[in-house]
Symmetry: C2
Subunit: 254 residues, 2 copies
């Protein structure tokens, strides 16, 4: 396989959830933002807004509303990547157009732009020795986050990323094994795995991760209970459903 410094860094990067007590210098923050701006964006539209959380009280509040994760409150840099279907809508109206309301496609495209930009900051952060962690829980609590962050109905959180210098323990943490390629890649047509293939997929991952005593049924049952059927996961779907409502209104001209 090809190797170079970028590929090595992409392979090594892992999430960091504990920080050294050390601020992010302004020039590092600026380089992160610049990496976001230079990311690919649909039609060069930059369909996102980056909301930087600097207020300690707001960080502390988000640490609670995003499924009670205290390391959000202590992160030296916190960015919320918002899918922004408001800015261009306002620009069209300022230019005398009568644009249609944003629909589901506009939200998905703006969320894509926001996530692509977010991932560039994560890659940039790692290159400067800065750890990072995505907080998907920012998709929860629609009503609370709209109010806290002052979002309009056409502005939706796509991701929150927290950044900081990793503690020694975090640097030495083992990156979890992924599923093997054969289970994640398919050719020309989506392949739905059989139950037996799914068992193999998890068994290979357990093996690659060095888990010797491991049982498919009990592992999946515990994971389902802890993650997929958890309160926070159900809340995420409820909340995203709320965000979707604005995009499901009558799509014709206003």
């Amino acid at each position: 396989m090809e190797q170079n410094e970028i590929l090595t860094q992409l392979r090594q990067r892992k999430s960091v959830r504990a920080w050294e007590d050390r601020p992010v210098p302004p020039q590092v923050r600026q380089a992160l933002l610049e990496a976001a701006f230079q990311a690919p964006t649909a039609g060069n539209q930059m369909l996102y807004t980056i909301l930087e959380v600097t207020d300690p009280a707001l960080k502390a509040r988000l640490a609670e509303t995003c499924d009670h994760q205290p390391f959000i409150a202590t992160a030296p840099l916190v960015l919320v990547f918002l899918a922004d279907c408001q800015r261009w809508l306002d620009a069209y109206e300022a230019a005398g157009c009568h644009p249609r309301r944003p629909g589901p496609g506009d939200l998905m495209l703006a969320a894509s732009d926001a996530l692509i930009a977010a991932q560039n900051t994560v890659v940039a952060a790692h290159s400067m020795g800065l750890g990072s962690c995505y907080i998907g829980d920012v998709l929860e609590q629609c009503e609370t986050h709209r109010q806290l962050l002052g979002l309009t109905e056409y502005v939706v959180p796509a991701a929150m990323v927290v950044y900081g210098y990793p503690t020694r323990q975090q640097q030495e943490r083992t990156k979890p094994a992924r599923f093997r390629s054969q289970w994640v890649v398919c050719e020309n047509r989506y392949h739905r795995n059989t139950p037996e293939q799914l068992r193999q997929m998890f068994a290979c991952q357990a093996q690659d991760g060095g888990r010797s005593s491991w049982d498919f049924d009990s592992y999946l049952q515990a994971f389902c209970k802890r993650k997929y059927d958890s309160d926070f996961s159900r809340e995420m779907s409820r909340s995203c459903g709320e965000y979707w409502k604005a995009f499901l209104k009558e799509p014709e001209n206003r």
Copy 2:
């Protein structure tokens, strides 16, 4: 601002839409996929499937269904990043769980995973001299793409990326100027720009892009007609609305 090789590459990377007649070697393809697998993923779940399009007839068809873009058909490497809410659902069922149906939050989280992985491949591609271009139009034509790619109702295209070695002309193309930071970043609270600010935002971009004769109203009116109110944009919202339907069904236990 900080500088290093990664930051430089993130800044320089731009979309490529014309290819040299040169295949992507297997070890380069493998490095791209590995960069995707090593991307951050929610709870290490890899909520995506990468569908590689190798069939020339399917590429040619997608070049048509994705808003008639012939360079898709000639791209030596084509990957569709699918938000996959099916794989884990099937695994839960294989383990004897009775999971709820996937909801809006599950789709948004899976689309995030897919896009984050996609962007890692774009960064990896650039580091190996390979150009790439996102094709957002894969979100259109829900019924056609479901049938063509064999998607289940819980598997949704998040992005398509095409890769190849750039022609000289593409390498020398100027990267378009982005909006300046001040219009895209806000602090603690979403800032909705005034019409006057929006005019300034576009004026700055025109200036940074060296466009001397430029008029806000006519530019935005033309852009709105050509992009936002276009047939393909309306089709994207219709199509994404179709994909959403499966995730808006009764969320309780099946």
